[in-house]
Amino acid sequence: MSVTTAHNAKKMYRFDLVKRLVARLKNDEAVIGGIGHSNFDLFTAGHRPQNFYMLGSMGLAIPIALGVAIAQPRRKVFALEGDGSLLMQLGCLSTVAAQAPKNLIILVMDNGTYQITGGQPTPAAVGTDYVAVARGCGLTSAAWAADEEDFERLVQRCLETDGPHLIGLKLDAQGPAGQTERDPVQIRDRFMRGMGVKQSKLPG
């Protein structure tokens, strides 16, 4: 099997990738959208009750997804995390490797910049390979997606096999396709209903 390395992975459009991911979700999979444009594009791709959109706590998409994955081991759980966010909490990759939840899939959305604050390069933009970092932390099922078709293949493999898995995605510089409605209590309430945890007579 050929291995795609960071430098020859195609730079893709985040919103297109998020739409491709969501189209493959048929079993109420949970998706945790990290701070900023990662969750903006998840929201714009069409709200699902199993989506959670962060509005701060930069770097916690993977830990939140890990908590969901431990609580509901039969549900697949995706974390969409930006490269700048992951840099803030790299240690969480070791925690995931140690807990080894079979149902957790991490997507690293790597555009090399803090896009939401004006596109300044991250300190990792020059040469940090997040897939190599993940492997070094003990996440052996970690790969860069070569292109859109390869991404679809990798997502399908993650849905069909035990993880934890990590997919690295190189992104182009296009901005988000929309913006999340910033109402955290509503987001939490709907997510808990989507997880089957909360029943309420209030319409949701």
């Binding site: 949970a30 509005l55 916690l60 993977i62 908590g67 909490q89 925690t95 939490r188």
Partner: protein, 175 residues
């Protein structure tokens, strides 16, 4: 008579608090050991306290209640994530903090960071309880957990050296 950590374990089990990610502390050792010894709990270390707050937030939203264990200096790393995750989203993330930096602290770094803990909790408008007495420990832990769950709010339980004995060093003559 039960030790403080036995009382805490009993209150956690009574309220179905199973998920315990933590960054360790010497004072918490007997509690951590008791939690690891009991298959009721899922307990593990994290690299940072922030991570543990995220894990418990995800767990409780997906139906598994949890509590983060840490010491005072760990709490000081948390205000941003507390404000923007459990406080903003109304998620009952429980925290138990071993109080370092007071009542005989030997490390000035710990003593300095201790001064930030109550002001940070108060400025976040977070409910917190300081547990000082063995005879009150069970009531405080049980009721604080129940209130957090029923009101969907994060909360902190501070384990005072008055309860745990804390961590102290003898002052050597001429030292």
């Amino acid at each position: 008579m039960q030790a403080w950590h036995e009382i805490v374990v009993e209150a956690l089990k009574a309220n179905d608090i199973r998920l315990i990610p933590y960054v360790p502390d010497n004072v918490l050792k007997p509690l951590i050991a008791a939690i690891h010894a009991d298959p009721f709990f899922t307990a593990f270390t994290t690299a940072r306290e922030e991570e543990a707050v995220g894990i418990v937030a995800g767990g409780v939203m997906a139906g598994m209640r949890g509590m983060v264990l840490m010491q005072t200096s760990g709490f000081a790393t948390l205000p941003n994530v507390l404000a923007s995750l459990p406080c903003a989203f109304h998620i009952p993330v429980l925290m138990m903090i071993s109080e370092r930096g007071t009542l005989g602290e030997f490390n000035l770094g710990q003593a300095a960071v201790w001064r930030t803990m109550r002001p940070a909790l108060e400025s976040l408008a977070m409910e917190y309880q300081v547990i000082t007495r063995l005879d009150e420990c069970g009531f405080q832990v049980d009721r604080t957990i129940r209130q957090a769950l029923m009101t969907q709010q994060p909360t902190a339980m501070i384990l005072s050296p008055l309860l745990t004995g804390g961590k102290a060093s003898p002052v050597k003559a001429g030292g």
